[in-house]
């Protein structure tokens, strides 16, 4: 941004005009710098899944401001004036990446000129990412659905914070390692409960294509009414195909998502009913947004635990009603 060379102004006799100009320009100076001057420094994040892992890694060294609250759809989100004000106060910014934050991506790229901006998915090897058929050249952004992949995102956060704040690098690495371990343990739990679902029933039908990594990690066949982004509307033909599938394979349950309107899934249920197959709504899953802040479901681990437990139980598998660590709020 602008450089106001204070030394030069001080060495000269004070000219009121110049001082006013300097003052005026100082108003336009960004308040953020590249290295933390004081603790806690300000980190701004986008979706809750990113906010949570940054919070776990940074601990009390940073104040973390998440822009997208519970139940907000990141594909369609547009930053408001207050969000821009928040972003301009940020000393370092983390977002999910892989075009998850569709409309915000441009904004974030521009922000990177003046402060570090990191996509937490930047360390994940591209060959392990899924590339959906309908969008060649683009990767499926819903990586957090596989806790093993998200553990790599945790690692990316640790590296970025270590570079930004070297004195605390060891702390960040230690926090990240501990958290990544929990991700792996949750993954083991998930595979165990999904294995109890009868094989023919391992099908996850939900509002949009957010669960491909989930399906790959836990051995489920995954189908969404809408495409990868919630921006595209579901075609009638696609809905009919899904209804056909539900009826033919006698799928017991379909799932709604907290950040996507229910109507497309309700269309499936009604469609199947008209064909004489009662499919029920197996529960609400957290796809692009986490549960309410302050609850276990409002954390990354809680969100995935909730999804695993809900899906396994609705499809006829065996999983503890209160989930992996017995922390889930309502009986599932």
């Amino acid at each position: 941004m602008f450089k106001v060379e204070n030394a030069e102004y001080q060495s000269e006799p004070a000219l009121p005009g110049r001082w006013l100009l300097a003052l005026f320009l100082a108003c336009f100076l960004p308040s953020a710098t590249a290295q933390p001057k004081a603790y806690p420094y300000t980190v701004v994040t986008t979706v809750g899944m990113v906010t949570d892992i940054v919070r776990q890694v940074a601990a009390d060294k940073a104040t973390i401001v998440g822009l997208l609250g519970a139940g907000v759809d990141p594909h369609l989100y547009k930053p408001s004036r207050d969000d821009v004000a928040t972003l301009m106060r940020a000393q370092i910014v983390f977002y999910s990446g892989l075009m998850l934050e569709g409309k915000m991506a441009d904004t974030l790229v521009k922000l990177a000129r003046t402060r570090p901006v990191h996509a937490v998915t930047e360390l994940i090897p591209p060959e392990t990412l899924l590339e959906p058929e309908e969008m060649p050249g683009h990767h499926d952004p819903h990586v957090w659905m596989d806790p093993a992949a998200w553990a790599q995102a945790v690692e990316a956060v640790a590296q970025a914070l270590a570079a930004f704040d070297p004195p605390n690098a060891a702390l960040y690495r230690q926090n990240a390692t501990r958290y990544a371990e929990q991700c792996h343990r949750l993954r083991v739990y998930g595979q165990k409960v999904m294995a109890t679902v009868p094989e023919a029933r391992r099908v996850l039908v939900s509002s949009h294509d957010a669960f491909n990594y989930f399906g790959r990690a836990f051995g489920l066949r995954v189908m969404g009414v809408q495409g990868l982004s919630t921006e595209s509307e579901a075609g009638l033909q696609h809905i009919n195909e899904l209804v056909d599938f539900l009826v033919r394979h006698e799928v017991p349950a379909v799932f709604v998502e907290s950040s996507v309107p229910r109507k497309s899934i309700e269309a499936l249920v009604q469609g199947a009913q008209a064909r004489g197959w009662r499919v029920r709504i197996g529960g609400e899953l957290f796809s692009d947004a986490m549960g309410p802040a302050g609850t276990y479901e409002g954390t990354y681990l809680g969100m995935v635990d909730h999804n695993l437990t809900t899906v396994a139980r609705a499809l006829g598998g065996e999983a503890p009603a209160r989930g992996w660590q017995g922390k889930l709020s309502a009986a599932h």
Binding site: M1, F2, K3, C27, F28, L29, P30, K78, P79, S80, R81, D82, V84, A85, L87, M88, K103, D106, T107, K110, L111, R113
Partner: protein, 327 residues
């Protein structure tokens, strides 16, 4: 309530809000300069028509150059601006329909053509329809370019250039624009190329509309073109004063609009709202205030007296019957 308003204004940041206001004010000023002539020539809706019709121009410019650089976009827009005016005239003459109908036919057809072109190139064109329709003035401070060693929002540079272009045209061609706006027949007998001026004006409107896409969007730019000029028109009959007042009202609505976008929702406990919408709304409220002032001043409800002999106020069955009483 007051405390909440003050609280919201304490979040004021010059690096953000200052630039938003500068962008809004430049957009409003550039629009008001050309908008005044649209209002005087009773073709306010031409602004609406052109701001929609430029879409194929933008799409073709993109398809030809493969980039979203400003210069090809402006060229494409300018060409389509002139085409819109030409087609409108042609349809009116050949089809024997009135100006409004021919405008409606031409701009919807061009907009549809642009839509087809954009959809055809959908995967490559990063023209966000939401951004074009409503603008994104809140994001403008983030996208900066370096101008003489300073970081200035790109949009501010662009709007500043368009404002200067409009100002130069108006100053240089002031006399010609004045005569041809008030009496095209007289202008022609005086040897002024009224048709050429008409197309120049359409070009300026098109360029202004494109420059405003990123700030207020192509729907609300119509408000910026028409409302401040219409407000000023209620208060004065002198072209020079009219231009100054129109620009003043435009800039004023940008400033008040942004402050209101912060303060008004805060009064009811909400987060800040859309600045472009509040700017347009503010200018609308300004027009309402001007109507009230005019009525009070004349003491003559709903009748505005004509200055005798002014050809402008010979009412030809136009849409807004400002004149007509008291003669």
């Amino acid at each position: 309530m007051l405390a909440r308003v003050l609280e919201s204004l304490r979040s004021w940041e010059w690096a953000l809000d200052g630039w938003i206001i500068v962008a809004g004010a430049l957009c409003a000023a550039a629009s008001a300069l050309v908008g005044t002539f649209l209002v005087l020539r009773r073709m306010s809706m031409m602004g609406d028509a052109i701001s929609h019709a430029v879409l194929p121009g933008l799409a073709v410019a993109f398809l030809v150059t493969g980039s979203r650089a400003s210069v090809p976009m402006f060229l494409g827009a300018a060409v389509v601006g002139v085409l819109t005016a030409l087609f409108t005239e042609w349809v009116r003459g050949v089809g024997k329909v009135d100006e409004g109908a021919s405008m409606g036919v031409v701009f919807t057809s061009l907009f549809a053509l642009g839509l087809l072109l954009v959809v055809q190139a959908a995967d490559h064109v990063d023209l966000d329809p939401g951004c074009v329709l409503y603008g994104a003035i809140e994001l403008t401070p983030l996208d900066t370019v370096t101008v003489v060693g300073r970081e200035v929002p790109r949009v501010v540079v662009m709007l500043g250039a368009v404002f200067l272009l409009n100002l130069t045209c108006v100053l240089v061609l002031y006399k010609e624009l004045q005569i041809s706006s008030f009496d095209p027949a007289l202008a022609t007998t005086l040897g002024i190329n009224a048709r050429g001026l008409h197309f120049l004006l359409m070009t300026l409107v098109a360029v202004t509309a494109v420059a405003s896409f990123e700030t207020v969007g192509n729907i609300l730019v119509v408000a910026m073109l028409v409302v401040p000029a219409a407000t000023a028109f209620l208060l004065t009959r002198r072209l020079s004063v009219l231009l100054v007042l129109a620009v003043g009202f435009g800039v004023g609505s940008a400033v008040v609009g942004h402050v209101a976008a912060l303060a008004v929702p805060a009064a009811f406990g909400y987060a800040s709202t859309n600045t472009a919408g509040m700017m347009a709304l503010t200018s609308g409220v300004g027009l309402l205030a001007a109507i009230v002032v005019t009525l009070l001043r004349r003491g003559q409800p709903l009748r505005i007296k004509n200055p005798p002999g002014s050809p402008l106020f010979v009412d030809g069955g136009g849409t807004v019957r400002v004149s007509g009483g008291g003669r």
